[in-house]
């Protein structure tokens, strides 16, 4: 009997020895992910995290949200058909609620960009990094964080200010209006101070981009003096100007032009511009074999097309009729079905994916912003009329004269001018809010719109998860 036990014991010892020798085998073997230390201790790693922040500030390259959030709610365009219409109808009809996925998508993506920017800012103080690198990264990270908060504020109002990548305190409440505004001001001002006027790399933030964004932020804040001052600074950089032809502004062959202060850069390969694909119908004769469209169509109303002054070249970018692929002539104007072809067909498109950059701030906008601010501050002046006329002249319409306007009529004209100048550039919603016509306009279109709908609701999942986060009034 005893020798059995001996054997069992010996076998047991063998087992245990094998096992003890094996404990290292339970370490995680990581092959295609990088440890935090190795990323955050090198300039290349930090820079790479910042690249991710840029990506998210551009909503992962999904510009539709900007387009839909503005174009559908402002009545600028009407979308028909396509699978997307199920999600667009609530925006068009003012029946959205806090569960609309795009709200959560936008929120989540922008905050991920803020997180990445915070990671950069939290780890930039490293003795191995050069001072130039530190300044550049700090400036760009603050720019990205600033622009993300600008979008959040624009859609949702004041949102929690996450200013560090630490996850120690995560259930934040919403800041006051003033705190939110000052944070955005701070980030963009800091960024403008740190950033160079010219960047070797197109797509990286510049001083002008930070100032241009700040200018627009002040405009929407109705901080007229600051808006006018910052606009002056942008103009004073002597870097920007108007492209002579309105058509060429949006031509993919004429990108990086002097008018674009900040854009969402697009490429057919990634971050593609699908606006045309979501606008034109299946039977539209596409100029290039490599173009394609979706089932969805977007239409402008006849009223808007007819509103242009005679000779306005900006109107030429709106398609009012066409002969379809079966040879049938289709009249669009007269049926509320005109279609904007602002973004010229990209010869290098890859199917529905085109490479036309989408402007965020352009020089014409800075000019009109300063004009609007000056009008609000001083009433019509030679300077504000002159600013507007720069934009009008380029469009081929006759210049305005000072005597024709009161403060109120010039204000109205500026908004009208902006509609002509910036249609399909995701600007109509914020302009209408500033003008005070966002809700009344929707009601005039027969929508059951309510004042509180000037802000979108905080996405429901966020409300559910953060007990300190209060929903916007009315939702």
């Amino acid at each position: 009997m005893k020798s059995i036990y001996m054997k069992v014991i010996i076998a047991g010892v063998i087992l245990a020895t094998i096992g003890l020798g094996c404990t290292k085998l339970l370490d995680e073997r990581v092959y295609s992910k990088i440890s935090s230390e190795s990323v955050l201790s090198t300039e290349a790693g930090i820079s790479s995290v910042l690249t991710s922040a840029y990506n998210k500030s551009e909503l992962n390259g999904s510009e539709y949200w900007f387009y839909f959030f503005s174009a559908m709610t402002s009545g600028e365009a009407r979308n028909v058909g396509g699978s997307v219409s199920a999600e667009l109808t609530p925006l068009t009809d003012f029946t959205w609620d806090s569960n609309l996925d795009w709200f959560e998508d936008a929120w989540k993506t922008l905050y991920a960009g803020i997180r990445d920017a915070n990671v950069v800012l939290d780890h930039i103080d490293n003795k191995n990094f050069s001072d130039a690198f530190k300044q550049e990264m700090t400036g760009e990270a603050k720019f990205v964080r600033g622009i993300c908060y600008v979008y959040l504020y624009k859609w949702f109002g004041p949102t929690p200010l996450y200013l560090t990548s630490s996850t120690d305190s995560i259930y934040l409440a919403r800041p006051t209006e003033a705190r939110m505004v000052s944070q955005i001001e701070q980030d963009l001002t800091d960024a403008a101070n740190d950033l160079p006027v010219d960047q070797a790399t197109y797509g990286r933030a510049t001083k002008g981009a930070a100032l241009g964004l700040l200018c627009k932020f002040y405009l929407n804040q109705k901080q007229w003096q600051k808006c006018a001052d910052i606009a002056s600074q942008v103009i004073g950089l002597n870097k920007y100007g108007l492209v002579p032809s309105y058509h060429d502004l949006f031509d993919p062959g004429n990108e990086k032009n002097e008018e674009m202060i900040w854009v969402m850069p697009c490429s057919p390969k990634d971050h593609s511009n699908q606006i045309n694909a979501l606008t034109f119908p299946v039977d539209f004769p596409l100029p290039y074999a490599n173009d394609a469209v979706f089932a969805a169509c977007s239409y402008f109303s006849d009223d808007f097309v007819h509103s242009f002054e005679p000779g306005d070249t900006r109107k030429d970018l709106i398609v009012t009729s066409y002969t379809n692929t079966s040879g049938t002539f289709i009249q669009l104007l007269g049926n509320d079905q005109s279609m904007p072809l602002k973004y010229e067909w990209d010869p290098n498109a890859s199917g529905q994916d085109a490479g036309n950059d989408i402007p965020v701030v352009r020089y014409a906008d800075v000019l009109l912003s300063r004009a609007e601010a000056l009008n609000e501050l001083n009433g019509p002046t030679e300077e504000s009329i002159d600013l507007i006329n720069q934009v009008r002249t380029r469009a081929g319409v006759s210049p305005l004269s000072l005597g024709a306007f009161t403060k109120a009529t010039l204000r109205d004209h500026i908004f009208q001018e902006r509609n002509w100048e910036f249609y399909y550039e995701m600007m109509r919603r914020e302009d209408q809010i500033r003008q005070g016509t966002f809700i009344s306009g929707a009601r005039a279109r027969g929508k059951n719109a309510q004042e509180f709908q000037q802000l979108f609701p905080i996405p429901q999942p966020e409300i559910d998860v953060d007990p300190n986060l209060k929903q916007n009034e009315g939702y």
């Binding site: 094998i18 929690p160 797509g203 559910d464 998860v465």
Partner: protein
């Protein structure tokens, strides 16, 4: 030292007393002592002396209790040329003792008292009648160790290695009963015959059947766990392209769903419900002792402008169903706890066929057949379509679409489903060789299987080879090797859950305008100017999507018997798979032409290695104690790596993916990934039996996994079980052949949580565009959770096994309760942190249910037999806890989001959406409703919270995908050489979200075709008593809202298989069998899709049907010949 052990034990357990009064021994020793024949003539001899003599002259050993043997009265014994079993049979018929022979060890135990303890030496000494014969299996192989008894007496013997026996009987009357583990008992009247040869048929119901359990085998009668054991005759007949389909409907508590009808398509297996939200729910598969990685390889579709989420293929395709000898399904914790952190979803043990010693058996099986689509989806015909489109357009104030001239020129139009479907052929050839001698046995097989799919250009071709070899080196060492090698070629169907131009042929065929012709006048594929969907046939011919999968699966073991009680086994396993997927989307399609051809090549390599050392001890102590102990250590290491490249912009489609360099390099993308994980485990199990009545099993597995957080590297999974063989108790009437109660408790785990979830790392983020070029980035992958661990499932099972009438009627009932704790939940974080969730062990879920399995031999005559087996199970799933944040809403298919909800108190992944209470009939009804902008003919959504608006707050649970019960019914009839089998299975009470119906409710484009019922029976001012809305401006009435109209009842009853076979008696072969099999012959269901069993996301918890590949109705003609 090792060799001395057996002798030592035997010596220790007996008292050596020789009291030889007279002793004449004649020994005819042969090469194998098993065949030794002795002539004995003993008078007044003690039993212990008989044992000594036998032991001296043969290599039999004895185990007994001295006291018992000493009490036994002396006997007279006279036999001539008798084998040891014959001698023992003669001795023991006079004692209140039982014995059994296990590996030439005779174990003596106390039996039931005999009515006559007196010597009947006259009968003993004068057997009058000798019967000899041979016992073989159904394919002619000799069966050694078959026990043969004269019914109603204690006379008996067993067969030798050649299956031969001889038995001495009082006379030529009575009935001989042949019984053998794993085979059906057979009774043969002697009727004066001296030569009786018998063929036994393998069986499952035998109580002595050995059942494969984790890391060993056990007698079925000794099981304490809930295990469904299936052998070849239980398997589903017909085209079973994977082994999990063999068991569909055959085992209680096991739900096997063919989620896609595509050849080689996915199968979902749920054993006793779904117990996890974020970890896997599929069982662990163990092939001949090797736990395999059964995760699907490359996900379906992906890239090249195709659907990204189509149903992944079945990873078990690489095993030939004809190679399977048995499938054991371990269900309760007593059975599965030995697999610890992988046991919570049940375990499927697959045992492949092995060779037998004796003549080489050659078996060839071949069948061929045709498949047709069992059910097409009823969509509008061309004329109905024209009528519906015109009427809706007119009702919407837009005039007719088709003028009478248009209608005349359209003619019959096109039936797109008919265009993409075909009658498809299937062929199978299977050749196996099995044989061996006493030392070495082998079985080798080759399988060729070719199945075209019912969707044109789809199909699967398989080449599978297997070799199983076992050899004995010396007396103590056994070496075994099992190797499976497979090559699979698949032509994939490109459908998935994508829409519009991304959709595949099935979706396109359902939606494409039936007034369009297939071809243009010039012979090219037509393309509708009204739709962004592809011409369905241009998808069939325009997209090449194929896979090549290689898999080598094998194990090698060395088993060493230290002595007859203690053995050690070293087992190495290896499983290596590689898959290459080529997709080319040519310029025949919308996407392909826009991008001038899109090529996508993906390569995946996945492997794992197993090293395992186990020791096994079994012994019998004292009078009543039987003990079996297992201990071991096992280590398994997994590695997976992937590479994918994509490029578009080809000058020509001719070369497809074969020259990626021809593409436009500026549209090229490459990705790669590599992950590894490992498991280190200690296992232990004790089986103890007292008096062969009371059974106790205790199991413990300590599992270490690299996936767990640093604070929780090891998990411990114990189980205990009790069994009570009531039939052995005096107070239970003799009626029962078996009556056993089982009770078990245990904890198992689920470590299928993905890799690196406990770490904080950086992974690839999105690209930013700098200087017009995408630039890659890094982004934090998540917040580390060092406490992350396995999910643990506590399971209680109570079971009863009963059998009466000599096994003709048997039943198993089980009730169980499974509670999963520490369930992995993605606990949402405020996404302001940049992270949306942290994986934490916070949830709880319950699965409880009832299972019944009944089998009966209804008729058993010489010419006609009829047997029936039926199983039924009812399982309830309920989410108990989801951590601090409550509801989790999930599930999306392109334009439809949030299809399912995890909510405390509801079954998991219940359908979530709006209730439609009716259709608005009048403007007054609209005005009084919560939908002020609606029109008559729009659906009325229920304003659940009564706030006067229809918002997402009005969504409720609409149903769930779990059947109330599932059942299977098998009937087998034989009449002389004919056999008829038919198998019916079904599910009752499951709901299924039918996305095709939802798409028909909200056509994204007016010119799309629709499901007929919804369109023809739509609301109009004159057709008001209907549940389907008007179809006018559908996006205005609710977009892609999941609603109660599209949650369908997916109950069904299906004649799964029917087979008629005839065994032709021939001279040239041992057996010749021809058969005709019909598969999926009819289905009774209200479900409107092609398959109520479908699930577009494969094994995912969120179940919905979208563009399901239809099931085929198959007819096969086959022949099976054995030499």
């Amino acid at each position: 030292m090792l060799n001395g052990l057996p002798a030592l034990i035997v010596r220790a357990m007996r008292i050596t007393v020789f009291l030889t009064l007279t002793c004449v021994v004649n020994l005819y020793a042969t090469a194998y002592s098993q065949d030794a024949q002795l002539t004995l003539n003993l008078k007044d001899v003690k039993l212990s002396e008989v044992f000594s003599i036998i032991k001296q002259e043969t290599d039999y050993q004895f185990l007994y209790n001295d006291e018992e043997i000493q009490k036994a009265p002396a006997i007279n014994l006279s036999v001539k040329d008798a084998t040891v079993p014959e001698i023992l049979e003669a001795c023991f018929r006079h004692y209140a003792l039982k014995y059994k022979i296990v590996n030439k060890t005779v174990v003596v135990s106390r039996g039931k008292p005999k009515h006559d303890l007196m010597l009947r030496s006259a009968a003993l000494m004068d057997p009058q009648f000798a019967v000899r014969g041979r016992v073989t299996g159904s394919s002619g192989e000799p069966l050694p160790g078959v026990s043969i008894n004269l019914r109603g007496s204690e006379t008996g013997t067993i067969t030798d290695a050649q299956g031969r026996y001889s038995i001495l009987l009082p006379d030529g009357e009575g009935i001989l009963v042949f019984s053998y583990i794993g085979f059906e008992k057979k009774s043969v009247p002697i009727q004066g015959h001296q030569q009786i040869d018998v063929t036994l048929v393998s069986s499952v119901s035998s109580l002595n059947q050995l059942v494969v359990v984790g890391y060993g085998t056990q007698k079925k009668d000794d099981l304490t766990g809930a295990i469904s054991a299936l052998s070849t005759k239980d398997f589903n007949a017909g085209v079973n392209v994977s082994l999990d389909q063999l068991m569909q409907g055959k085992a209680a508590g096991v739900q096997v769903s063919q989620t896609s009808g595509e050849p080689g398509g996915g199968v979902s297996v749920r054993i006793r419900g779904s117990s996890s939200i974020n970890a896997g729910n599929e069982p662990l598969y163990v092939v001949d002792g090797l736990p395999i990685d059964n995760s699907s390889l490359l996900p379906g579709g992906g890239g090249a402008g195709l659907a990204s989420d189509n149903n992944p293929k079945n990873p078990l395709n690489s095993i030939n169903p004809n190679d399977i000898a048995s499938i054991e399904i371990l269900k309760d914790a007593s059975a599965t706890a030995i697999y610890g952190s992988r046991g919570a979803n049940g375990v499927v043990l697959i045992t492949t066929k092995k060779g037998h010693s004796g003549k080489i058996q050659v078996n060839y099986d071949s069948y061929a057949g045709t498949q047709t689509v069992a059910k097409k989806i009823p969509i509008l015909s061309t004329s109905e379509y024209i009528d519906v489109v015109n009427s809706i357009s007119e009702a919407g104030g837009n005039g007719v679409v088709f003028s009478p001239e248009d209608i005349a020129s359209i003619g019959k139009g096109t039936n797109w489903q008919d265009e993409i479907y075909q009658k498809a052929l299937v062929t199978n050839h299977d050749l196996s060789l099995a044989g061996g001698n006493d030392r070495t046995t082998f079985r080798a097989s080759l399988n060729y299987f070719d199945q075209a799919g019912v969707v044109k250009k789809t199909g699967i071709t398989k080449y599978i080879g297997r070799l199983n070899l076992t050899t004995h080196v010396g007396k103590r060492i056994e070496v075994g090797i099992n190797v499976n090698r497979s090559l699979i070629k698949e032509n994939n169907e490109s459908d998935g859950v994508n829409v519009n131009e991304q959709a595949g042929p099935i979706n396109a065929a359902l939606l494409y305008d039936p007034t369009e012709p297939v071809y243009n006048a010039d012979g090219s594929f037509s393309r509708s100017s009204n739709l962004t969907i592809n011409n369905p046939l241009s998808l069939v011919y325009g997209i090449t999507n194929n896979d090549l999968i290689n898999r080598t699966l094998g194990s090698l073991y060395i088993q060493y018997d230290l002595d007859k009680h203690l053995s050690a086994k070293l087992n190495f396993g290896y499983d290596d798979q590689s898959q290459r997927r080529n997709i080319y989307n040519s310029s025949l399609t919308i996407n392909g032409s826009a991008k001038a051809g899109i090529a996508n090549v993906a390569q995946l390599d996945q492997s794992n290695q197993l090293v395992e050392y186990t020791m096994h001890y079994s012994n019998h102590f004292g009078r009543y104690h039987d003990i079996n102990v297992l201990g071991g250590i096992t280590y398994q290491d997994f590695l997976i790596s992937q590479f994918a490249g994509s490029i578009s912009g080809f000058p020509s489609d001719v070369l497809g993916v074969n020259n990626l360099g021809l593409g436009n390099a500026s549209y090229a993308t490459v990705t790669s990934d590599k992950e590894g994980n490992s498991l280190l485990s200690y296992i232990g199990r004790v089986n103890y039996s007292y008096h062969d009545k009371y059974l106790l099993t205790g199991t413990l597995r300590a599992d270490g996994s690299s996936r767990f957080g640093t604070n929780n590297k090891f998990g411990y999974f114990p189980s205990f079980a009790l069994g009570w063989k009531l039939d052995k108790e005096k107070f239970i009437p003799d009626l029962f052949d078996q009556l056993k109660l089982r009770a078990s408790w245990g904890v198992t785990g689920n470590q299928d949580i993905g890799n690196y979830k406990a770490l904080s790392t950086f992974s690839t983020g999105g690209n930013a565009i700098f200087n017009d070029k995408p630039v890659s980035s890094l982004t934090p992958s998540g917040i580390a959770n060092p406490n992350l661990q396995w999910e643990s499932t506590r399971q209680i099972d109570l079971g009863i096994d009963a059998s009466i009438l000599g096994g003709r009627l048997s039943a198993t009932f089980d009730v169980f309760d499974k509670k999963t704790k520490e369930m992995l939940i993605n606990n949402p974080l405020p996404t302001g942190t940049g992270y949306s969730a942290i994986l934490s062990n916070t949830g709880q879920m319950r699965n409880s249910g009832f299972e019944a399995q009944l089998s009966a031999v209804n008729v058993d005559t010489k010419r006609f037999t009829w047997s029936t087996s039926v199983n039924l199970s009812a399982i309830r799933n309920k989410v108990l806890d989801l951590g601090p944040n409550g509801d989790i809403i999930t599930g999306s298919v392109q334009f439809v989001d949030n299809t399912a909800i995890y909510r405390v108190g509801e079954p998991m992944a219940s359908y979530y959406g709006y209730i439609v209470t009716g259709i608005f009939q009048t403007a007054e009804e609209v005005a009084a409703s919560a939908q002020s902008t609606a029109q008559p003919g729009y659906p009325i959504f229920k304003d659940v919270n009564g706030d006067g608006k229809i918002t997402s707050a009005d969504r409720v649970v609409l149903g769930n995908p779990y059947p109330k019960f599932i059942f299977g019914l098998q009937n087998s009839l034989t009449y002389q050489g004919f056999e008829l089998n038919f198998f019916i299975q079904g599910e009752q009470g499951a709901d299924l979200l039918n996305i095709n119906r939802l798409e028909g409710m909200y056509p994204a484009n007016f010119r799309r075709n629709r499901i007929a019922e919804q369109a023809l029976n739509r609301w109009t001012p004159t057709n008001t008593k209907t549940r389907w809305p008007s179809g006018i401006d559908p996006s205005a009435y609710g977009g892609g809202k999941v609603n109660s109209l599209v949650i369908d009842d997916a109950s069904y009853i299906r004649l799964n298989t029917a087979q008629l076979a005839y065994n032709i008696p021939v001279k040239f072969a041992q057996s010749l069998r021809v058969y005709v099999t019909g598969q999926n012959l009819f289905t009774i269901t209200h479900y409107i899709g092609s398959n109520p069993d479908a699930s577009s996301f494969g094994t995912n918890n969120v179940r919905l049907d979208y563009n399901g590949y239809p099931l085929a109705r198959t007819w096969l003609l086959g022949v099976n010949v054995g030499f």
